[in-house]
Each structure stands twice: as structure tokens, then as C-alpha cells.
Amino acid sequence: MADLSVDLGFRVLKSPLITASGTFGYGEEFLPFYDLDILGAIVMKGIFRDPRPGNPPPRLHETPAGLLNSIGLAGPGSAALQEIIRRLHARTAVPIIVNVCGEDDEEFAEVAALFSAMDEVAMLELNISCPNVRQGGACPAQDAGHTARLVRQVKDRVRKPLIVKLSPNAVDIVAVAQAAQDSGADALSLVNTFLGMAVDITTRRPVFANVYAGLSGPAIKPLALRLVREVCRRAYVPVIGMGGIASGHDVLEYFLVGAAAVQIGTINFREPAAALRITGEIEAEMERLKIKSLSEIRGQLQA
């Protein structure tokens, strides 16, 4: 059997597959479908300090091969998540990544510090790129200066590896990526959802109360892959690629443009055991292509 492990420098993962924040609940929900231990890691749904109700419905809108969401980061707050993590950690050895959110820089730092202190947590992912918190989709990751300040501030308060999650809606995603790594990010992950919208022509209103929502799913893969390549060309820290991944073939494409690991998101909704299938497909592709380790092809795009 192929060796699926990947090396992020600061940590080796037994598989390149990580489940993306907001698409995997708190892990527990997937225990009926497969042993989470086959995964490289799981990312918890984004968390703020306090409980949040989330946005009013509708929160989803299906588009061709895509999904618009405006969940609004509904969640139980940090204290409750700590409990959930302890419970989950007792049932599985899969590395747990906490997706840290904040209304302002101080909240980001505080939440990050809290989870950095937990033994059960492997890494932190700073979600500076959620389009559904403020109306119009503004977020720190749209601006390199803000990103640099925020990453430094958080980095000062944490001891765990810090992944910074970037937005495809940034004016210049490569500049933001550089700002993040120069400010101490241990890894970068991208992309979060693309800003999009839909209109209810009968009511003449936007489908979503916030007007814009985030687009994910297979529809965005060609766009996300290009952005991941752009960032990988300038990044000296490992890049975790995502956006529309639905097959082992997709995973290898992300590796060829330079990703060191990948996340799978929306596909988990459609197919709860997607990670299991994709793991098998990665192995099959590696065998077909006679690759012993994914590091052999990482960044090896001949362009």
C-alpha cells in the first residue's frame, strides 16, 4: 500500500486529507461513516469566544456544481467547544485543528490562546477569511496590512503551529499570503469561499439577508487551483490547498501545483464517507503513476 504521509515541516500527517472547517461539524457526526484515523487531521467548525446563533435562514442556496452558504458561523462558543474536543479526543487519535474566528483582533488572539493551551489540539487555523460575518463579505484577509498585524498578534500568544486561512476575495491574495508568512504563519491554507450571490426574482430580494454568500464545491475548483498555484510559487511555508476537491485526481492536481496537504469541504455534505473514497483513489492514482510518496510530485508541475 502506498505511503500517504505528508510532511508539513513542523508535523507529519499520516494522510494528505484534512476535512475543512464548517463542513465536518465537530468530527463526532462522522464517526458512523468511517474511522477518522484515516485522515491527516480534521478542522473543527469555526469558533468565536461566545455562542453565536448564526444567520437567519435561508443559509444555503444550491448552484450548478456549487453551494452558496451564509451560515454566519453559528456555534456554541469556545468553552463548549473545549468540552466537545475533549470528548472527541477520547474517541479518536486524529489530529484536531481548531478554526479560530473573531469579531476583532483581540478576540482572534484570545480564542487562539485558549485552544493553544489544550493538549488535545494539534494546530490552529486562523479563519481570517470568512465572508459571512459582516455584510458585504469584508474580512481581515482582504488586506495584507491587517493580516500582518493580526497574525503577529496571534502568533505572540500561541505555542501551537498556526495555519492562516486565506480568502480568494482578497484584492491580492499573494500579497496577503506573503504578509501572513512573514508575520509568523507556520502554514497557509486556501481557499475559503468565493463571494457570490443569488436573487429571488419573485420577492425581488437577494436570497441571503447578507446579500453576498460564499461559494464552494466542484464549481470553484479551476479557480481555487490557480490561486493555490499562485500562492505556492511565493510561499516558503507549506500550503494546504482546497476548493472543490471531490476525487483523488483533484488531490493530485493540488499537489502538482505545490500543495503540501489538502482539505475537503462541501463534498462531505453530499457524501459523508467522501474521505474514505478519496483516500482509496489517491492510493490508486499513486500506484498508476508509480509514485511512492506524494512528496515526489509536490510542486512538480512542468509549466
Binding site: P53, P57, A65, R270
Partner: protein, 256 residues
């Protein structure tokens, strides 16, 4: 909860956009309780991307029956499938209607809302008296009458808005009298949002126990996406897929 490959045994068009599917899905069939639903993947294509939630009409292992209205893109693709085709079925999902022994239960079904109530009646009608109030816009919305009549209900009241079947009018027109004359203790309901909202208004302040099964947009069906939120009277949100689809009627904030 299982994601299993079901095999379509029988697929029929009943007229008026309604379809009935008989599917061999032993794991779902073995575990289904009245009120549960399944998430069905209508196509290997990514368009539509999401599965579709459909209630379980009946379950007799190894089979389940689905009864649905083909209106949009996904359900129309489903309607194109036939015997021998297979279908990914995730379920059974959600909570179920409470059994509530020893009470007089009135089932209230609007159109395709018959699904979970039919299942309920099929499981419990032998054990105790059940009443069914069934309404639709026209007779086309009131399919499955033969099967319903075979259920041994204590009474069946039928309404259609255009008078093409049963009494003419909305089923809520008959509610008042039926509740009173039949001395119902409990209502279990499922149907369009407007119907449930009207029921909530009419049943408010009475001594009945009322449970309703809700519909909502669903991304996953098993609690992870938070897409299926419904607002409660206390201002918080509940997830229809795993905290429901059955809720106390009074708990939901209905549109006014």
C-alpha cells in the same frame, strides 16, 4: 444512520407531479421510524450537488417507499429513474413522531405532508384509534387513497380547495369541528409552511399536544452544515435535520 446503495424495485408516476418509489434498502428499512427521512442522491452528477431530503412513506424490510412531488431540478431527475437503477440513500435521519399511547391522535396532512403521517398510521393504527385530516389543492394532491383506506383508521376527513375530492375548502376549515367532535388529545401534522402556521394559530392556547414535521433546505441532513436552521419562539435556531424534523408546534416561530 447508513449511507447505502438502494436498488429501485418499482417506480411509478401517480399523476399530478407525484411519484412513488419502492426501494430495496435493507439497512434503512430495518431502522426507520415514523417521521424519519432519508437524503437521496439523485444523480452521479455534481449538478444538482446536494442530496434531496425525502420522508419515508412506509418501511417493510428490505424495502422503503418514497412518495414525492417532482417540481424542481433534483426531483425531476429522480423521476427519470426506473426499476434496476440504484440510488444512494442516507438514513434513517432525524427524530420521529412520539408514540403517545392512550391518547386520541389526529393526524393532519397537507399534500405530500402525508408521508410521515402515513408511516405513523401504518405502524400504530392497529394499536389505537387514529384520525386523519387530509387536504390538498385538488384531487391530484390527494394520492394514495387506496392505501390510506387500507390502514384501518378510525376516521378519515378529506378536503380539497377546488372541491374535486372530499369537502371543498382548506383542511383547516374542518379542524375546529373535528377536534371538538372527535375529542382529539394530540395532533401530529405535516404540510406546507402556511398550513402549519395556520394550525399553530388555531391550536394556540388549547389543551392539545401538537407536534409538526417541518421542511427546510438541507445541505447534509445529519447535523454538520447548520443550513437547515429554523427559528424558535425563544429566538434561537434549531436544526431541522437532527433536532427535528418533528418539533412541538408551539416551539416554532411561524411566519405571520
Amino acid at each position: 444512520m447508513q449511507d447505502e446503495r438502494g436498488l429501485i424495485e418499482d417506480a411509478r408516476s401517480l399523476g399530478g407531479d407525484y411519484y412513488l418509489l419502492k426501494i430495496a434498502a435493507p439497512r434503512n428499512a430495518g431502522a426507520a421510524k415514523p417521521g424519519n427521512f432519508v437524503m437521496v442522491r439523485v444523480s452521479p452528477s455534481f449538478d444538482p450537488l446536494l442530496r434531496r431530503p425525502l420522508g419515508i412513506l412506509e418501511s417493510r424490510p428490505p424495502y422503503i417507499w418514497l412518495y414525492y412531488q417532482a417540481r424542481g431540478r433534483g426531483t425531476r431527475m429522480l423521476a427519470a429513474l426506473g426499476p434496476g437503477d440504484s440510488l444512494d440513500i442516507l438514513g434513517p435521519l432525524g427524530n420521529s413522531f412520539p408514540e403517545i399511547p392512550g391518547k386520541r391522535v389526529l393526524l393532519i396532512a397537507g399534500g405530500r405532508g402525508i408521508v410521515p403521517l402515513f408511516h405513523y398510521a401504518q405502524v400504530y393504527a392497529e394499536r389505537r384509534p387514529l384520525l386523519l385530516l387530509y387536504g390538498g389543492r385538488t384531487r391530484a394532491d390527494l394520492q394514495l387513497l387506496d392505501r390510506i383506506k387500507a390502514l384501518r383508521l378510525q376516521a378519515l376527513f378529506i378536503f380539497s380547495e377546488d372541491g374535486s375530492l372530499g369537502q371543498k375548502g382548506l383542511l383547516t376549515d374542518g379542524l375546529e369541528r373535528i377536534v371538538r367532535e372527535e375529542r382529539a388529545d394530540v395532533t401530529l401534522s405535516c404540510g406546507p409552511e402556511a398550513m402549519l402556521a395556520r394550525l399553530a394559530l388555531m391550536l394556540k392556547g388549547r389543551s392539545l399536544e401538537n407536534h409538526a414535521s417541518l421542511e427546510a433546505l438541507m445541505g447534509c441532513g445529519f447535523g454538520v452544515c447548520h443550513g437547515c436552521a429554523v427559528r424558535t419562539v425563544s429566538g434561537t435556531y434549531r436544526k431541522v435535520c437532527d433536532e427535528g424534523p418533528v418539533f412541538p408546534l408551539e416551539e416554532i416561530q411561524w411566519p405571520t
